[in-house]
């Protein structure tokens, strides 16, 4: 059969950096082709060539066997290529219909509405065309993104890490939807980090590393271990490691409440304790109180009821973030670029800010720059932060994994007794994720109490010594490791 889309020996360089080196990639109608690789392996660049945002330096693009040039997003859409971006390209203030119209210029609204409803029906979901997109949930927004490109007549659909933002159930539903797209004759490219998606939901797997195609293979010939080895070029398999020594209770939450407002769920009577030398995992589907719990723990939001105690410091319920830090709390926030680092200032300054506030680098009148820089340099070495060309380099230029390592280097300075990690490996590749996990285990093994909030159940199961499940702002269940995956999954969808 002719391929719907073929990228033939494409190369692309940015400055002196060769992002793609003579890569071949193709997808046929009715097929789901998974594209795997670490961050920076060249997946995005390859897909940006496929959807016309970049022109290849060498090689060419073929549609149904004929060489074409794709000039920009609109031309790609006209040629039947639809891209569903990882970060949705939707206008929240617009209605569903307006968002579809925006992407499909030159056609009558009534006709588009009819077609959108028919397509949604065929794909097996309902959609309210007059709803404001800002009020929709993440999985509904994603369906809208897919609907948008289908209405535009896409026969080649590129999904860029589509389940990164979805919970377990929505992720499974999306994979079923993807299969449905292929069955109806579309060619689907699934860019993903998740091995099981490639193994169980694709027909063909391409693995990229450092701008080259490393392998093109069939899911039946692969298992998670071999696939990981292909992706990172070495053998990384993470195994659960129980805590060597669990001590007394370090942090205790007692009936903590947080009032919800509007779209926020709030927290309802959340009680748990975390002991020294223990990783306590908080599992749950996104949007069930994780952000609220993290805010309450960090001291950013004051609970409306209940109390929080830290052993040795007593009741800290009303303490703000600075006070909590003095009490031995360290935070790895969910969005490292927004809340973890100040992107436009230097790496060393980002590292030094906590120490400076704690008086480590002089007084309020005087900043011991030399000491801060020396310690930053040492920490960058110890925590293996790569890609730092100079200590003054802007933190925003670090890749996700290295940015996270920098956050951890800063937060672990001074050996904190309580560590809060919120989705610490989200968006990181296998290798960087494993490095982050190693740091959390090390903190635990030296006796810190670690709270791990994550929507990735694999991560929770891998790291946690005990697991609490958040659903609807309540802590609905608690499990001891090793825990049963499906029991946790069932608790995650508890409804009251």
């Amino acid at each position: 059969m002719t391929n719907a889309l073929s990228l033939c020996s494409v190369s692309k360089s940015f400055g002196g950096f060769k992002a793609l080196d003579s890569v071949d990639f193709s997808v046929a109608p009715g097929e789901v082709h998974a594209l795997l690789g670490e961050n920076g392996a060249g997946k995005s660049t390859l897909m940006n060539i496929a959807c016309g945002l970049y022109a290849p330096d060498e090689g060419h693009v073929e549609l149904e066997g004929r060489a074409v040039t794709i000039a920009g997003a609109r031309d790609a859409a006209a040629k039947g290529i639809g891209m569903v971006h990882q970060h949705f390209k939707l206008v929240p203030a617009f209605t569903v219909l307006e968002n579809i119209l925006l992407f499909n210029p030159g056609r009558a609204p009534a006709e588009i509405a009819r077609e959108a409803l028919a397509l949604a029906d065929r794909m097996g979901f309902e959609i309210d065309l007059d709803a404001r997109v800002g009020t929709l949930g993440v999985s509904e927004q994603q369906r809208l993104e897919i609907l948008k490109v289908l209405v535009a007549g896409a026969r080649i659909i590129i999904l860029d890490e589509p389940t990164a933002v979805l919970g377990e159930d929505d992720g499974r539903a999306l994979m079923a939807l993807v299969r449905g797209l292929a069955d109806s004759g579309s060619a689907v490219i699934l860019v993903t980090h998740k091995l099981h998606e490639a193994l169980y939901h694709s027909d063909r797997i391409t693995v990229m590393r450092q701008g080259r195609r490393i392998a093109e293979t069939l899911p039946a010939e692969m298992d998670p271990g071999r696939l990981t080895t292909l992706i990172v070029g070495e053998h990384i398999v993470e195994e659960p490691e129980p805590s060597p020594h669990v001590g007394g209770a370090r942090i205790r939450l007692n009936q903590v409440r947080l009032a919800g407002d509007g779209g926020r769920k709030g927290l309802v009577d959340v009680s748990f304790e975390v002991k020294d030398g223990e990783i306590y995992g908080i599992a749950g589907v996104s949007g069930n109180g994780q952000n609220e719990l993290a805010e309450v723990l960090m001291g950013l939001g004051l609970p409306t009821g209940g109390s929080i105690e830290i052993a040795g410091h007593g009741d800290v319920t009303g303490a703000g973030p600075a006070h909590r830090r003095q009490n031995g709390l360290a935070c790895i926030p969910v969005d490292r670029y927004r809340h973890g680092l100040a992107g436009s200032i230097g790496v060393a300054d980002n590292f030094a800010v906590n120490g400076a506030l704690a008086g480590r680098y002089g007084s309020w009148l005087w900043f011991n720059r030399r000491k801060a820089r020396a310690e930053a340099r040492a920490a960058i070495e110890t925590f293996d932060v790569q890609g730092v060309r100079s200590l003054g380099q802007k933190a925003a230029l670090l890749s996700g994994g290295n940015a996270q390592k920098l956050v951890i280097a800063r937060e672990f300075q001074g050996a904190p007794q309580v560590v809060l990690a919120h989705s610490p490996s989200r968006g990181l590749d296998v290798r960087a994720g494993a490095a982050v996990h190693e740091r959390l285990r090390a903190a635990r093994d030296r006796g810190a109490a670690v709270i791990l909030i994550s929507e990735d159940l694999d991560e929770i199961l891998l790291l946690s010594d005990r697991i609490g499940v958040l659903a609807g702002g309540r802590l609905v269940a608690e499990f001891k490791a090793p825990a049963n995956r499906s029991e946790i999954g069932a608790a995650m969808v508890t409804h009251d």
Partner: protein
Amino acid sequence: MSDLLLNWLINIPGFAAPFAIAALGLIITERAGVLNLAAEGFMLAGALAGVGLMIHGAPPLVALGGSVLAGMAMGLIFAIMAASFRINHVIAGLALVFFAEALTSYIASAERWTNKAISGLEPVFLGQDVIVYATPVLCALTVWMLNRTRFGLTIRAVGENPGAADAAGIDVTAIRFAAILIGAALIGLAGGYLTVAVSRIWVDSVVGGRGWIAIALVIFARWHPWRALLGAILFGCIEALIPRIAAAGFDVPRYFLQMTPYLATLAVMIWAAARGRDRWSQPAALGQHHIREERG
């Protein structure tokens, strides 16, 4: 007393129209995500062009056409700075205001246009001129354009989420460029109206802060054209009252009345903030530049 009232009422539309037209221009620009603080400057350019053409014998409507072009000329400079070169909107806007203040004063003195009375735009019906009647029509056209046309949809998309617009194949820079020019045309017309129909004379800084009031009015109206028209009438009532109160011998400090538009705007902003963010209908990408993520 009734004379005073009637006199006041008749004068309200003349004061309200320039506020409304300038606010419409600002709304079109800002719905595309461009923060326009240069309105005072655009109005000065329009005001001076109107006076100059009248002095050279042009009929009033032709003079107003010149005001539109003068506004657009200033708009072109702003568009090149804010849309093409992606200079900070606040800095570009403020720089243009001071530039326009100085440039108009210079041209007026060089051409000896200052303090020369001109004939002006005459009333056509019920003591009101044609621009007053055109104002609600312009407002209706703006609403229709923004909400019912594809061009309006793209303007709003660019103002709400330029990244999404870009992914949909819309040229963000071109749309912002167009929105700035259309807005500048209206703001220039508003400035021209001030001299050609209201003051009928040029003095330096004749616009007298009305550009700033129009900016406040847009916030007051929360970027909605009909609400802006209502607000313009309200502000027009206040402005028309100021000289008449003094004439009638009431002892109210005029400075108090002059600050009422700003007080009203502050009140609306506080009210909107207190009601929660989603009620605050400021375009989400107002003042933000769009740069496509590219590597290397």
